[in-house]
Amino acid sequence: MSDVKVPTGAEKIVQCLEREGVEIIFGLSGGAAIPIFDALVGSKIKLILVRHEQGAMHMADGYARATGRPGVALVTSGPGATNTVTGLLTSHMDSAPVVVICGQQVTSVLGKDAFQEADVTGISYPIVKHSYLLKHGGDIPRVMREAFHIASTGRPGPVLVDVPKDVSSGPCTAPFTDEVDLPGYTVPGRGDPEAIAEAARLLSESKRPILYVGQGAVISDAGKAITSLAEKLRAPVVNTLLGKGAVDETHPLNLGMLGMHGTAYANLATQDCDLILGIGARWDDRVTSDPAHFCVGAKKIHVDIDPSEFNKVIQCDLSICGDARLVIEDLVPLVDMLDTEPWLKQVERWRKKYPLKVQKQGGLHAQYVQSRFDHLSEGRPILTVDVGQHQMWAAQFCRTRSNRHWLTSGGAGTMGYGWPAAIGAKFARPDEEVWAIVGDGGFQMTLAELATAAVHDLNVKVLIINNNYLGMVRQWQELFYDNRLSGVDLEGNPDFVKLAEAYGVKGMRIKRVADVDRKLREALDYRDGPLVVVAEVVKEGNVFPMIPSGGPSSAMLIEPPRTQLEKPRGST
C-alpha cells in the first residue's frame, strides 16, 4: 500500500469532476487556484483559458443551457472569485446548472484580510442555489457529489465551491461517493394525480384556453408533451423570453413571446383567455406587468417544480408541483378536444391585424436584418442573445424551432452574456451552428473572449446589431423622459471589423439593405473559425409592441406613440 500515491485535494477534485462526466472547464488561473490548475495537467478534462472570469461564467452557463448538463468554471480567490458574481446571478435567475470552483486563501488566514482573500461564500449566498467553503480535504468527494447533484436536479442553479489552497494542496484519502444525503433537499417528480385531474376538469370547461410556457419547460424537455396537449385541446401557446423553443415557434398554434415586448396577438390572446395554464413559468413582471389586471377573470393553473413560485406574483386557482414534462405527460391523456374554433379564429384575426412590422425603407433596420437572419438560417443555429433592444427584436423575429436553441439572460438581464455564452454553447455542441446576437454595448463588456474563440479556432459567430447607442435606455428616454438622452450615446465605439481582425478573426460589415441577404448567406456558410458580423443599423430604432412597465396590457403600444407618455410606474 505504501507505494500508492495519496492524491492531493486538487487531484481529488479533478477526479471527482471526471467522475461527474465533466469534459470541459472554463477557467482563469491565479495564485490560490494553482494546485487545481496543476492537477488538470494530464487530465482528460479540457481546460479553456478565458480572458475574464465573467466570460468563464457565461461560457459555463452557455454550455449548461445548450446541453442541460452542468457547466464548470474555475477561478482564483479574491477578485477572480468576485468577478464570477454577475455570472452567478445570471445562472441563478435563469436556473442554469453551473458549478463554480474558486481557489481561496489558506484556512489559517481566513478572516484576516490576507492577500486576495474575499469571503466569496458569504458574497454568494443570495445568488446561488447553494455554496460550500471546503475546509477539510476529507469532505471533497461528498461536497463535489452534492454540488453537481444540487446544481443539476430539481430547479437547477449555480453551486459555488470555495477551496482553500491548503486543502487543495494537502492530501485527500477520502473515498469517492455516489450517495447524497441531503435531508433538506427534495426533488419533485410527478405531480399530484388529483391536482392533475382537477387541471383536466378546469380545462374541459374552458372555451378560450392558453398555454403559457417558460424556462421550466425547456429544462425538463416538456416541449413534445406541451405540443401534444396544445394540439389535443386545440389551444394556442405563448412562451416567455426563456421559454422560446420548448414549443416550435413556427407551429401554427404558437403565438410567440408574450409580455412587455411580446407580439400583440400573444398579449391580446393572453389577456382575453378564460384559462391560462402556466408551465414552468414564474409570472414574471415582464409578463404580468400589472398583476391586478393580468388575465382578470381567467382560471389560472400553475405547474412548477419550485413551490416557492406558487402564488408569488399571481394568485392561481390550482398549483401543481412537479417536473413540467412529467406533469404534462400525465395531463395529456386526461383531456379531450375543446370547442375552441371561435377562439382560434379570433386569435388568427389578431395575428393578421397586428403583425410584427419590418421596415425596409429609411436605412438599415435591425428588425430587417434579424428577420432575414431567421429566414435564411431557417432557425437552425443555437442563438445566444445579449440584452437590450436587439434581444427583444431577436425574440420577436428569430423564431426558435427546437429546444435549447435559444439562450439569453432573462431574469438578470446581464449585458455581456451573449458572446461568451455562444463560445460555451459551441464547445458543448460542436456540430451545431452557434450564433451570438449582441448589441454594441453588451458586446464590449465581454469582447475579450474573441481571443478565446480565436485560439481554439472555434467556428462560432457573432452578429452585432450596432446602433452606437445603449438603445433600450435611449428608447425609454425618448418615450418617457422627453427625449432627454443621458448616458446612452456610445460615441467612441471601435470599428468592430478592425477589432475582430486585431484578434485574427474575420470581420464583415453590413451597411445596406441590398447587401443583407448576400452577406448573411456568406456568413452562414463561413466555416473557418470565428466570425464577427457587424450590422450598422439606424441609430434610433425602437422596439414595439411595448407594454409600459406596470401598465395593463390594454396600454400596449403597437405603434410608436404620437404623444409624450407618462413615466411607467412598474418595475424597471
Binding site: G122, Y125, K129, S131, L182, G184, P307, S308, D482, E566
Partner: protein
C-alpha cells in the same frame, strides 16, 4: 408632465408570526436564513438558535412581523434552502411557547418592597441581590414578559436581556 409617481407599498395588516426551522448545524446557515428576510427589508424581532436533539441539526425560532402573503412566501423560500430541513409557521396553532428575560434594576436596599411584590406576583426569581441593584429572572409567554417589564420600568430599569421566544409543537406533532 406629472411628477414621477412612487408606488405605495401594498397595504396588508402586519401580524406577529412565530416560525420554527429545523436546519443543518453548519456554518453560514443562519446567514442564509436571515438573508431571506433582509432582502425584503424585513426585520427579525427575535431569533433563537440552538442544537436540536440530534446534534447534526439545529432549531431556529424566529418571531417577525409581516402580512400573511409575504410571510407565506418567506417560509417557502426558507424551506427551499438546501440547509433547511423544514420551516413551519406556528402562528395561531396550539404549540407551547415560552421566553426568558433577565432584568437589572437600580434599587437601594431599603426601597425594594414594591419591586419584590411585582416579582413575586409574576413568579420571577431574584438571581442577584446586590446592595444597589437587583437582577430578576422571569419566564413565560412573551406577553407576560412585556407586562412585567412595563411594570418595573418606573423602578429604575437598567438592563434587559430577553432570550427570544422558543416554541415546541404539542403531542407527537413535529415542531
Amino acid at each position: 408632465m406629472a411628477a414621477p409617481e412612487i408606488l405605495p407599498a401594498p397595504v396588508a395588516a402586519p401580524e406577529q408570526h412565530t416560525l420554527s426551522l429545523y436546519v443543518n448545524n453548519k456554518p453560514g446557515v443562519l446567514v442564509r436564513v436571515s438573508l431571506v428576510f433582509a432582502r425584503r427589508g424585513y426585520n427579525i424581532d427575535s431569533l433563537v438558535v440552538s442544537p436540536a436533539a440530534h446534534g447534526d441539526f439545529s432549531r431556529i425560532t424566529i418571531t417577525c412581523s409581516g402580512d400573511r402573503p409575504t410571510l407565506t412566501q418567506i417560509i417557502l423560500q426558507l424551506a427551499k434552502l438546501v440547509d433547511v430541513v423544514h420551516a413551519v409557521d406556528h402562528t395561531g396553532d396550539a404549540a407551547y411557547e415560552t421566553e426568558i428575560a433577565l432584568v437589572k434594576l437600580e434599587s437601594q436596599l431599603g426601597e425594594r418592597t414594591q419591586v419584590l411584590q411585582v416579582a413575586e406576583h409574576y413568579g420571577a426569581k431574584v438571581v442577584d441581590y446586590g446592595p444597589e441593584s437587583l437582577m430578576l429572572r422571569v419566564y413565560g409567554s412573551s406577553d407576560k414578559l412585556d407586562a412585567f417589564i412595563e411594570l418595573l420600568r418606573p423602578y429604575g430599569l437598567l438592563e434587559l436581556v430577553r432570550s427570544g421566544k422558543i416554541v415546541m409543537a404539542r403531542g407527537l406533532e413535529d415542531t
